[in-house]
């Protein structure tokens, strides 16, 4: 999705073009440009919807300094795929407030979309979805990560999340004895 913006265009022409365009250009932290359907961006991201409505979209590429190019590419890819899939009723309704609706299982294409991501790409995408206020993408990516936790010991989970264990041995032992059934042999 990366595009090369023409450099010789006159400022005026660009401004007129921007108003009529049905895409927006987003710029990753490392300066790469991505184009995404304006409609999909506004529908799937509360942050982008606000920027489009408020006219703060930059036709030279709206700076998203918190998002790297790989994550932004995935965000744009998700938006485009979403625009092509038949959206279900729950996703169209914008009145559903953040995470108060009962969870809706990821659809088949969403599952495939997150399954192909590397570990790091998935975690970067969760952060990007959170930053952009993309409720559904956050749902799908968090669901995927929660599935990765299943069947793992606390040690293995720490490894996945790169977390340092701050329990003492005694504290751990106490909890483990209380909840012995919840642990696989590890």
């Amino acid at each position: 999705m990366e595009v090369d913006k023409g450099k010789g265009e006159a400022e005026e022409t660009r401004k007129v073009a921007e108003a009529d365009r049905d895409t927006v250009t987003l710029k990753s932290s490392d300066g790469k440009l991505f184009e995404v359907s304006k409609e999909a961006a506004a529908r799937l991201s509360t942050v982008l919807a606000g920027m489009i409505a408020g006219g703060s979209i930059d036709d030279n590429g709206t700076d998203l300094k918190q998002i790297g190019s790989e994550a932004l590419e995935n965000v744009v890819d998700y938006c485009n795929k979403h625009a092509n899939s038949i959206p279900s009723a729950a996703l169209i309704s914008s009145s559903i407030s953040f995470n108060t609706a009962p969870f809706k299982e990821p659809e088949e294409w969403e599952r495939k979309f997150v399954d192909r991501l590397s570990h790091d790409a998935l975690f970067d995408l969760v952060e990007a979805a959170n930053f952009l206020g993309m409720e559904r993408l956050l749902d799908v990516t968090c669901h995927k990560i929660s599935e990765m936790m299943k069947g793992k010991s606390p040690d293995q989970i720490r490894e996945v999340f790169n977390i340092k264990n701050d329990y003492t041995k005694e504290e751990l032992e106490e909890i483990r004895q209380e909840l012995a059934w919840a642990f696989y042999d590890d």
Binding site: N99, F123, D139, C142, S146, S153, F161
Partner: protein, 265 residues
């Protein structure tokens, strides 16, 4: 990433509670996220109605007595009733995610148990004495310290009233003439009568109405045997007093004493 931990843990399925338990062992920040009341609320909204965690058998008619175990319907294995240690326990009721278990132990009669958090509160079983109905409210006393439990039928509401005297053993509740709550007790050879008077702004306080020296009106065979109040007759202002000479009724209005039928206590 920190703020997203809750988002991820929120999506662990309630029907497989071991995932949440294991997540609590990852680090202290995670256990803080999991234990925060807002997580519980969001988890509930996110997954809809809480899952059935298991079953507490009370009776198994055909298979014999029920095992003293919590029969799990999730991936969590069965586990014994708390503190049963092989002793007999009987779950009595389950409401608001708490289980009331009857224990057969000298210092624990009842256990209020939260099977999710494992919290336990042990209680001595209150011995409920006969109650008195005044208007729409039913009053009971609890043997332990004479605390009065008021049950308002219309509002379906329970409240507690401190008794005028905690260290008397023989007491009776009664409806007074003016429909206030009466409290009769015997101490030594005297009968004390209290009534609850309502004060402005909904407050109430006990007022001592009468002290009746029973030895002057009720005969006793053995003077060292104190008369005991054993009850009251609803609505007619009679109090029953038992002595070693038998059962007597006192008409509180007229002060007349009558020897009743001798009823073995």
């Amino acid at each position: 990433m920190d703020e997203l931990v809750g988002e991820i843990l929120l999506r662990l399925p309630p029907a497989e509670p071991e995932h949440l338990f294991r997540a609590s062992l990852v680090c202290k920040q995670w256990v803080r996220v999991l234990c925060h009341p807002s997580f519980g609320r969001r988890y509930h909204v996110f997954h809809g109605a809480p899952p059935i965690l298991g079953l507490l058998h009370r009776l198994q008619v055909l298979q014999g007595p029920a095992p003293t175990r919590f029969a799990s319907t999730t991936s969590m294995p069965d586990f014994p009733h708390p503190g049963s240690d092989g002793h007999y326990t009987l779950p009595l009721d389950c409401r608001h995610c708490r289980v009331l278990v009857r224990m057969r132990q000298p210092n624990v009669h009842l256990l209020v148990w939260d099977p999710v958090t494992g919290d336990k509160h042990s209680l001595l079983e209150p011995r409920i004495e006969r109650g008195t109905l005044i208007g729409d409210a039913m009053y009971f006393t609890i043997r332990l310290d004479n605390t009065i439990i008021k049950y308002e039928r219309v509002q379906n509401c329970l409240s507690m009233i401190n008794p005028p005297s905690k260290d008397v053993y023989y007491i009776a509740l009664m409806a007074m003439e003016d429909d206030s709550l009466g409290f009769a007790c015997t101490q030594g050879s005297s009968l004390y009568l209290w009534s609850m008077e309502l004060k402005p702004k909904g407050a109430a306080e006990w007022v001592q109405r009468r002290v009746i020296k029973l030895e002057t009106i009720i005969p006793a065979v053995n003077p060292s045997y104190d008369p005991l109040v054993v009850g009251s007759a609803e609505g007619v202002g009679f109090i029953f007093i038992s002595t070693d000479a038998g059962l007597f009724t006192i008409d509180l209005k007229s002060g007349k004493v009558q020897k009743g039928r001798i009823i073995a206590k």
